[in-house]
Subunit: 251 residues, 2 copies
């Protein structure tokens, strides 16, 4: 039995969720509500002591880290539709892309997302309530990120992150102008893991991601959104931000 | 045919090098000398446009990123001795550890290493020669790191990195006090990739990594150094820092 603990279908939560839909694996979705800090509650820290979603429970075993969960599904369900190439060099190419999104692309987009969305949420709490929530966060770097979001990230940090976003988008556009999918001829976890971050940027970062400047990236976002698995996921999955995800799905 | 482009047997270069030795795969070592910035020379940027070692050439195909190369060797040489478990949950456990070293552990140790070793090297160049080298570095973040090393990293950065080193070492010690190897009963890429960073810390960070405070970590470092593959690697591999690596191998 599979249970996926996650936020709505965006960012890291989207990765294993879309992979599960693509592979046609039945699972029990367990939505956690970030607006009430549910992932920092004790019951969930029993499942993942780091207090981070997504986490997958498979027959009582817990797998964490979104990208690791995606590859786990490939290893544990070899008979389901494959999202990993079979040629070793193409697998390596896929992993360079999934690694890049985890080490570079996701962070710059995340900072801007936190500035825009987590900042107001953190400022809506009074000092005591905020400190109460902070205390429950097991990762010190996440505590710092919450404080930065509440205070507003420094201007030079935001500028540097926007620079990295432009570098990232240029990299994706360049690759997609020469290849239908990121790791080569086939749709793989490279696409799913990057889509998790890129989808929605045609709305939230429309000055960078748009049909004129990044036609191949826009086409790729649309092709993934048009897949039956993505449609089913967006239609079924609970979300903390229904408006945004509806908009993404309509892209 | 396999060719490994790398620095000496330490840090990221050590990962695929030790994996090749453990798997008994014949390869041509191509040592690049970081003290003359050989990895930023044009000939090497033809191989890896990012100007980063290690890189593996296999029958004309280039594989980059140390951890990706390690898993590539598992995929491409399934008949060689395995460094990846076969049970999917244990593979996931291994990947949590290889991901953690790449996203957390390696960075804090790297900053201190750069402060101690790259800083003096960068300051030995006059302004013009330094700027000439900087121009050849393709990754902007690496250019910034070189400038920081030359100027000396800010005190608060060094303190934060030392905090992360202590967190990292405590995490390794805790895990190794309950398990012989990081990903469970078997020696895997989790061990090789973490050893790449941890080995030598018993010398350079002896106030944190020592037989009194971290007996299990010290024992694990010694067990890996005692393996025939590690001994052969340290005996054969060219190094930019022969003294340090000799010390490590004697640990």
């Amino acid at each position: 039995m599979l249970t996926l603990y996650s936020f709505g279908p965006g960012a890291n939560s989207l990765k294993p969720m879309l992979a599960l839909y693509e592979k046609g694996l039945e699972f029990t979705p367990r939505f956690l509500d970030p607006t009430v800090f549910e992932h920092h509650q004790e019951w969930f820290k029993q499942i993942n002591p780091r207090g981070q979603v997504p986490a997958l429970e498979h027959d009582g075993q817990i797998i964490t880290e979104s990208t690791v969960i995606c590859e786990y599904l490939e290893d544990a369900f070899p008979d389901a539709p494959k999202l990993r190439p079979t040629d070793p060099a193409q697998i390596a190419e896929m992993r360079v892309w999934t690694k890049w999104v985890d080490e570079y692309f996701c962070w710059c987009v995340s900072t801007i997302g936190w500035e825009r969305m987590i900042g107001p949420m953190a400022r809506a709490l009074d000092e005591d309530a905020f400190e109460e929530q902070i205390k429950r966060i097991p990762i010190p770097e996440q505590q710092v990120k919450w404080r930065n979001a509440r205070n507003g990230f420094p201007k030079e940090v935001l500028e540097e992150e926007m620079r990295k976003i432009r570098v990232s988008i240029a990299r994706l556009e360049a690759r997609l102008s020469e290849s239908p999918w990121l790791a080569g001829p086939d749709y793989t976890l490279a696409d799913i893991c990057n889509f998790a971050i890129a989808n929605g940027m045609q709305n939230g970062f429309a000055e960078i991601v748009n049909a004129t400047d990044t036609p191949h990236l826009i086409d790729w976002i649309q092709r993934i959104n048009a897949r039956p698995a993505a449609k089913a996921m967006f239609a079924n999955a609970k979300s903390e931000m229904p408006e945004r995800h509806k908009a993404s799905a309509d892209a």
